[in-house]
């Protein structure tokens, strides 16, 4: 009997001890959770939120611009082929004509022109920076390129307007405002992009390639033109496409020097318009809901689509070079 009682008392004590431990561990868990919340979850939540917001922002930019941009084709039932491939632009007449081909052609001409000037120079600078004189390259050329990037586009536009236009007018006649003025201004603006990305590409070429080429008796130029540039091809191409994208999207500098006349350029010296220049000029003058305004939003949508296409092209280039 006594034994039983003692056993029972022992059992009771044990139980309460277990209970205490349990209680303590629940408390511990609670405390741990709060600690974890304070020290980990809130911070992690914020970081994840910041990552997700990038997706949300990108998607909402696409969705909102698209929802305005498709009005031309849905609300006004304007055929998309006519919008893209005809050049009758009379958006304010009672029966609006929205042929926007001039702007597409203008944008393509001006940005391709800029790349044609800028790409060889940019590649030359990249090669110079690493193979001809790395010292001058890192001490002078690199900082210069960074400054070129830093100069705001309105300043480029303004200098183009006040220096380049009078010069063109005196030298070649015409009114100064011209396709070539836009090309020249843009070619300076995209030069740093092409040069610095090409430089990165050239930098990664293994030294052994060069040594092998020298060992075979090749001169420096032969090595550069036959070994280094071909092996850095895809990186250089990425730089060129990025430069093209930047030229395509640049607005104010181009708008200030290209003349903004709505017609195809007859030659390099005649004025024209681009997608960005017409958007800059007219978006403020039009009333929301009119065919004119909606057509401008469609141009913005195409600008967005084209810049997206450049990204896809760059990704394709990178993928191809990885496979090799």
């Amino acid at each position: 009997m006594k034994n039983n009682l003692e056993n029972f008392n022992g059992w009771l004590q044990k139980q309460s001890a277990i209970k205490n431990i349990n209680l303590r561990s629940v408390n511990m868990e609670k405390k741990l959770f709060w600690n974890k919340l304070k020290n980990e979850y809130i911070g992690r939540g914020f970081a994840v939120f910041c990552g997700l917001i990038i997706i949300v922002l990108t998607l909402s930019i696409i969705i909102f611009i698209a929802s305005k941009g498709i009005n031309t084709f849905i609300k006004w039932r304007y055929p998309i082929t006519e919008f893209l491939f005809t050049s009758n632009w009379a958006p304010d007449s009672s029966n609006p004509k929205l042929g926007a081909a001039i702007f597409f052609v203008g944008s393509i001409l001006v940005s391709v022109g800029a790349v044609i000037i800028s790409a060889p120079i940019g590649i030359a600078l990249a090669v110079f920076m690493h193979y001809i004189s790395p010292k001058v390259g890192s001490k002078i050329l690199q900082p210069s390129l960074e400054l070129f990037v830093g100069i705001p586009s309105v300043v480029y536009g303004w200098v183009g307007f006040s220096v380049l236009l009078p010069f063109l007018k005196r030298g070649f006649g015409g009114i100064g405002f011209s396709l070539i003025a836009g090309i020249l201004v843009l070619s300076i603006m995209i030069l740093p992009t092409i040069a610095s990305i090409s430089a990165d590409a050239v930098k990664t070429i293994p030294k052994s390639y060069m040594e092998a080429s020298y060992g075979l008796g090749a001169t420096r130029w032969q090595t550069i033109s036959r070994v280094i540039i071909p092996s850095a091809k895809s990186g250089i191409l990425t730089g060129v496409v990025l430069g093209l994208a930047r030229a395509f999207g640049e607005a104010l500098a181009v708008q200030m020097v290209i003349g903004n006349t709505v017609k195809f350029p007859g030659n390099l010296l005649s004025p024209t318009s681009t997608l960005t220049s017409i958007l800059t000029m007219d978006m403020g003058n039009t009333v929301s809901g009119t065919a004119w305004n909606d057509a401008l939003w469609s141009l913005a949508l195409f600008l967005l689509i084209i810049s997206f296409m450049f990204i896809i092209i760059i990704r394709a280039i990178e993928k191809r070079s990885e496979i090799k």
């Binding site: 910041c50 100069i151 001169t219 999207g249």
Partner: protein
């Protein structure tokens, strides 16, 4: 042609191209500063614009540019660093990460005018605010976010290599490790990125034309309010920056000395950009020295 001669000639050509580009930059900056001489005069830097007569200044625009810069940084820096932390520390390989990378690439290649138009749609029309400083700052933040995220990601990756495991081994959580150990040592590099971004924000105009507007009301510094339009510090007033002002002078030209004002304002912008670049460079050197243990 002899290969050696060709080599010599083309090396010469490369030297010539490089020399030409550097000379072009010197000439460009020299020309802007020379044409804009007198831009340091207080009557120009702090005077307000005049209509129809010569001698106006850029006081309000200058203030707006700085204020816009600060507001845009306050908005975009936390998100940029947060995004950087996520990408460097938390994100796991997979579809989500691919999607984020694609979005960053897309955002960073968006033409700034498109971002401006998005701002017009959302921050100006949909919110009903009209042209405000806040709308402009938000648009610029969008423009700036991808670059900031990328800079922070790289900085955090580099800074975390030597210390991360030690900190985790002492029982710190990941967030504690990031916020108390990694981030402080990554800050200088992030700061360099922020300064370079500041230069870009300062000169941005296309994204602001249709978000912050093209008018600069007189500024009243006598009281501080973030929403009352009477105050200079109001976020809800139109705020034309220097860069937008240069564009407006060029396209509208309401004053007889528009060209001169544009010249001087360009000089101010270029000086600011030089300053930002110089700051970033000095800071970059400091970081390099501290990493390599020279100091």
């Amino acid at each position: 042609m002899d290969a050696k001669v060709k080599d010599k000639i083309l090396t010469g050509v490369l030297y010539a191209v490089t020399f030409f580009i550097v000379a072009l930059l010197v000439a460009l900056i020299g020309y802007i500063l020379f044409k804009g001489k007198g831009f340091l005069k207080p009557s120009f830097l702090f005077g307000s614009a005049k209509f129809g007569e010569a001698g106006g200044g850029i006081g309000p625009q200058l203030f707006n540019s700085f204020y816009m810069l600060i507001v845009a940084l306050i908005i975009s820096v936390p998100f940029g660093i947060g995004g950087g932390i996520y990408l460097a520390e938390y994100a796991r390989k997979g579809k989500l990460l691919n999607m984020i990378r694609l979005c960053i690439e897309t955002m960073s290649s968006l033409p700034s005018i498109v971002v401006g138009l998005f701002g017009l749609l959302i921050f100006v029309n949909m919110t009903g605010w009209g042209f405000t400083l806040l709308s402009g700052a938000l648009a610029i933040s969008i423009l700036n976010l991808p670059a900031l995220t990328r800079v922070s990601e790289n900085a955090i990756r580099i800074a975390s290599i030597p210390v991360k495991e030690a900190s985790l081994g002492l029982g710190a959580t990941r967030w504690q490790t990031i916020s108390k150990v990694v981030l402080p040592s990554a800050i200088p590099q992030i700061l360099t990125g922020i300064i370079l971004a500041s230069g870009r924000i300062f000169g941005e105009a296309a994204a602001l034309l249709y978000t912050a507007g093209m008018s600069a009301p007189k500024l009243n510094f006598s009281y501080v309010s973030l929403i009352d339009n009477g105050s200079a510090f109001s976020l809800m007033r139109p705020a034309e920056t220097i860069a937008v002002y240069i564009w407006k002078l060029n396209s509208e030209g309401m004053v007889p000395d528009a060209a001169q004002i544009a010249n001087k304002a360009s000089a101010v912008l270029v000086i600011m950009v030089l300053l930002f670049n110089f700051l970033a460079r000095v800071l970059g050197r400091k970081i390099y020295e501290s990493y390599t243990g020279k100091k």
